[in-house]
């Protein structure tokens, strides 16, 4: 029941918000917060259930082969926790900035939250596609929400490319159904072992490509930089921190359950894509002048690290990938919120214009420095630890090239984050010429945003140090075990 609530409560909130708006014309921030808290607690309850007693919930009592099953195990719990933290933070930032005003925004937000929880909990391939569609539509609209030309263009590109991705997922699902006659993932894990090799190739190519487009990995990343940089700060943080991670989950789940025993080439393809993503994303980020675009390309590169972890096709690799997913959520959300606030203060997003901030906003710059040190991979922060685990597991898979690519990526990312930091610290033209700053404006108080990014930066340090403790590693390796243990998943769903 808790699993259903995690999907239903946000969807209900999304449904109710327009009615509240119609009835009262104004929407109080308190109401939104209560709805948000309820949805997030439901997701956390589902995560708790999934973690301690993996659960299956059959919709309407139909058996798994004809009905829809919701499955909560450790992998989905980990991701539920991630989306709860991430979307909670984004909601708090949005509430601080907009108040209760834009009801459409919040309706879309809750729609997104519900569909994300749906993707994380569903055990049915077609149901996954349906939730993906809800998720994508909400995401397209949120990107275009500010209605500037830039945002509309980004939203359109996201729409077109996202639809192509969805098309491939749908094709893969249709081929699967035609070949086997079932849609439940656990039953498919058994059925796919006995279908012809060529059919399996077509299915795997369609599913992997569709999901890779949604994750925004390098050769098919085109929608990501525009979408992530044009949206408002809270949405950018949500896109980079949480939405991408849901696609990562879908890719992990589908690939591990369907192709771990049947088609090893899938994982080679994922590793290659990941390596390309690391190089391409970092090199593109190096050339950006717009700070949010730079962070968006950095996301492409970080997705590459995660894909390399997934491509190891081992429990250690999956655990490392999940750990990096968590870390990237913390680091990139923090960076986006900080960069967004600082560039709103200065009235520009060009890096060369973001000068003199060390004098005016020292604590924000300090937090940015910690977060970027973490994402570059300075020991003992969390980014370093998860990269090290990814390198370890890719070495365990017997290859050295992804590890060297990660090493090269570290240097390139150090280059561009240092560029941003040196711009922040440089005195700036305003103070030297004696003129007042170009945008005379009273600095706004952003205490909630600051509390969020500050605690994220602190968590970066804590998680990095915690990675040395055996208990913590146990937790993450059990997630990895769950991810690759197909038999346990099948047993859980079918009850055998």
């Amino acid at each position: 029941m808790t699993l259903v609530l995690a999907i239903m409560l946000p969807l209900l909130s999304a449904f109710l918000i327009p009615f509240f708006h119609l009835a009262r014309k104004t929407l109080s921030a308190g109401l939104i917060s209560i709805m948000g808290l309820a949805s997030i607690s439901a997701a956390l309850a589902a995560a708790y259930t999934g973690w301690y007693s993996p659960a299956v919930s059959l919709m309407g009592g139909w058996a798994p082969d004809i009905g829809i099953a919701l499955v909560g195990d450790r992998l989905s719990s980990a991701f539920l926790l991630l989306t709860s933290i991430g979307s909670g933070a984004a909601l708090a930032c949005a509430l601080e900035k907009f108040g209760g005003g834009p009801w459409r925004f919040y309706a879309l937000f809750f729609l997104l939250l519900g569909s994300m929880n749906g993707i994380l909990l569903t055990g049915d391939l077609f149901n996954l596609f349906v939730f993906y569609e809800i998720f994508s539509v909400a995401a397209y609209l949120l990107v275009a929400f500010s209605m500037s030309w830039q945002a509309l263009e980004a939203g359109l590109k996201y729409l077109v490319l996202g639809t192509i991705g969805a098309l491939f997922i749908l094709l893969g699902t249709a081929f699967t159904f035609m070949a086997t006659g079932v849609l439940n993932m656990a039953l498919l894990a058994e059925a796919l072992a006995s279908i012809p090799r060529e059919t399996l190739t077509a299915i795997s190519a369609c599913l992997v490509l569709g999901l890779t487009i949604k994750t925004g990995a390098f050769p098919v990343h085109f929608w990501l930089p525009d979408a992530h940089s044009s949206a408002q700060t809270a949405v950018s943080a949500l896109l980079s921190g949480v939405l991408i991670k849901v696609s990562i989950y879908a890719l992990m789940r589908v690939c591990y359950i369907f192709f771990l025993g049947t088609n090893g080439t899938v994982f080679l393809a994922i590793t290659v894509t990941g390596s390309l993503s690391v190089l391409g994303g970092h090199l593109m980020a190096l050339r950006q002048d717009d700070i949010k675009r730079l962070l968006a390309y950095s996301t492409v590169a970080q997705i590459g690290y995660i894909l390399i972890g997934i491509g190891c096709a081992s429990a250690a690799g999956a655990a490392a990938a999940v750990f990096h997913t968590f870390n990237h959520m913390l680091m990139k959300m923090g960076l986006f919120i900080t960069a967004g606030n600082l560039s709103e203060e200065k009235g520009t997003r060009e890096i060369c214009g973001l000068t003199g901030l060390w004098k005016s906003h020292p604590v924000w710059v300090a937090v940015f420095a910690v977060l970027s040190a973490a994402i570059v991979g300075i020991p003992p922060l969390n980014g370093f630890m998860s990269k090290w685990f990814i390198i370890l597991s890719s070495a365990g898979a017997g290859t050295v090239i992804p590890a060297l690519v990660i090493a090269a990526g570290t240097v390139i990312s150090a280059a561009y984050y240092l560029r941003i930091l040196s711009a922040f610290i440089s005195p700036g033209e305003g103070s030297s010429s004696g003129l007042p700053p170009s945008v005379p404006r009273k600095p706004r108080r952003r205490s909630i945003s600051f509390a969020i990014v500050g605690s994220f930066a602190l968590l970066c340090l804590v998680l990095g140090v915690m990675a040395f403790s055996p208990f913590f590693r146990e937790c993450f390796s059990s997630i990895g075990q769950t991810a690759v243990d197909v038999e346990a998943y099948v047993g859980l769903v079918t009850g055998r």
């Binding site: 077109v160 490319l161 685990f389």
Partner: protein
């Protein structure tokens, strides 16, 4: 499997104790020297200037006593980060070059460590199997300035504030050497002496052509590291002990030399040998301390450099190939010429009449006192180790008297005679104009233009045209389908 616990957390033996003592000693000397050098205005910058060396000291100590390659790499990376901040105060470009090169080296080391863990199940510090040796040698080579991988060293040593240069040459590069010493196994026997000889000859050759005093000293660091690497390549316990002795000796006298050039830089406002001169009369104490360092690096009997080089050569007698021995002898002649050049041009001949010394830095002031006190420490240690090399000789199983035999004294005398006479013949040529030939660092900055096509391909991929994106995505799908 993420961290194995099969090895102890720390590995403490004579070598790591000596290295820790060395870094603490160097940091103390540099900290005494710094008040005579530091001219930072704000409290924050001063705090970095005085605090970063101690942070460096802390992480370096952790690095040399760590028991696994993983901890070693982390500590070394953090120690580089500490030096990065102090270099950043003076020259951001050099600081960036430094941290990028060190991060890349750490990446290679981490990759090697991960493979080591995958192959053997343990990452305890020590020799590694032959097929992943290249990763470790490359990673440590960035630190220890192997040929081609030394691209960062001349520039960073030349541009860094002098206390940082002294620590860089004195200890930061030695951590790389320390790692290589831990790696020594029969597999390293062929590659290390070759690399070491190349470094010894190439470093001294480049040093002879420099006119910036700190850059010249930086190339001598490459050259002296060559001695150490060659000695380690001998692979015997005598070779390793000799390498360590030269490591310690070089840290002390090269730190001393950098600090004395720093004094010239403060007093005259330049470190260019084309303009300097006459410092011996105005700064007699600095000159005598410089002389200690110069005689030690050139291998004059009674100074630490002589004893350590004699021990290195003793180690090389044990391996069959005489080529390495003669390469080091030739490098020794070059070293003598080079330090005759520094001594003559910076201290003895008449200087550029336009150059006026700054009064506040002249002898008698507090700044000069602090600087000379800081330099006196390594100078005293250099003399002590030169006269009583018994401890290090004992590590290699030698009597300290055996280092002062005729078969070592005669070549040293011949080296000095040849070096001084060659310098006297060539001194006009050294004094006239610039003779630098481009090193790998200028080639790299030229070569970065080669990356332009990569960027233009990437740029045109992200052209913003939706129809191109759609074609690219569908093409990627087809490619995936065919490749699977």
């Amino acid at each position: 499997m993420m961290f194995d616990t099969a090895h102890e957390l720390f590995r403490i033996d004579t070598f790591s104790m000596v290295m820790s003592a060395l870094v603490v000693f160097m940091t103390v000397a540099v900290s005494i020297y710094s008040p005579g050098y530091c001219e930072e205005r704000t409290t924050f910058r001063r705090a970095v200037f005085y605090g970063a060396p101690w942070l460096f000291c802390l992480f370096s100590c952790l690095g040399v006593v760590s028991g696994s390659w993983f901890m070693f790499t982390i500590s070394v990376e953090l120690s580089s980060l500490a030096l990065f901040f102090i270099i950043l105060l003076q020259d951001p470009k050099a600081a960036r070059l430094y941290i990028f090169s060190q991060l890349l080296g750490a990446g290679f080391l981490l990759t090697g460590t991960a493979l080591l863990g995958a192959l053997t199940g343990a990452t305890a510090i020590g020799p590694v199997p032959g097929d992943i040796l290249w990763l470790f040698l490359t990673g440590l080579g960035f630190k220890a300035a192997f040929p081609v991988l030394h691209f960062w060293l001349p520039q960073v040593h030349g541009k860094a504030p002098t206390p940082a240069s002294a620590l860089l040459s004195g200890f930061a590069v030695k951590i790389g050497v320390f790692g290589i010493a831990r790696l020594v196994s029969p597999d390293t026997g062929t590659v290390l002496p070759f690399l070491g000889s190349v470094m010894a000859i190439y470093g001294v050759g480049q040093a002879l052509l420099q006119h910036d005093a700190k850059r010249l000293l930086a190339y001598h660091t490459v050259s002296q590291l060559g001695y150490i690497v060659t000695a380690l390549g001998a692979g015997t316990s005598l070779g390793i002990a000799a390498g360590f002795f030269h490591t310690v000796a070089h840290a002390l006298f090269k730190g001393l030399l950098f600090l004395s050039v720093g004094t010239l830089e403060k007093v005259y406002g330049t470190k260019d040998l084309d303009h300097l001169g006459g410092a011996a009369r105005e700064l007699p104490l600095t000159f005598s301390l410089f002389l200690v360092g110069a005689l030690a690096i050139s291998g004059f009997p009674g100074f630490s450099g002589y004893a350590s080089k004699a021990m290195v050569k003793a180690a090389l007698y044990e391996i069959p190939n005489p080529l390495w021995y003669w390469a080091l002898q030739a490098a020794g002649v070059g070293t003598v010429i080079s330090f005759c050049k520094v001594g003559y041009f910076a201290f003895i001949r008449e200087r550029d009449p336009g150059l006026r010394p700054h009064r506040e830095h002249m002898p008698g002031g507090r700044k000069d006192l602090m600087r000379n006190t800081g330099m006196a420490l390594p100078a005293a240690a250099t003399l002590t180790l030169g006269i009583f090399p018994g401890f290090f000789a004992g590590l290699g199983g030698l009597e300290s008297n055996s280092l002062f035999g005729m078969k070592d004294l005669l070549p040293a005398a011949a080296t000095f005679a040849l070096g001084i006479s060659l310098f006297w013949i060539l001194r006009k040529w050294f004094g006239s104009g610039k003779h630098e030939i481009p090193d790998i660092d200028t080639l790299i900055s030229k070569g970065s233009r080669l990356s332009a096509p990569v960027f233009s391909i990437l740029q045109s991929m992200n052209c913003g045209l939706l129809r191109f994106y759609i074609v690219a995505v569908v093409a990627a799908g087809l490619a995936l389908m065919f490749l699977m």
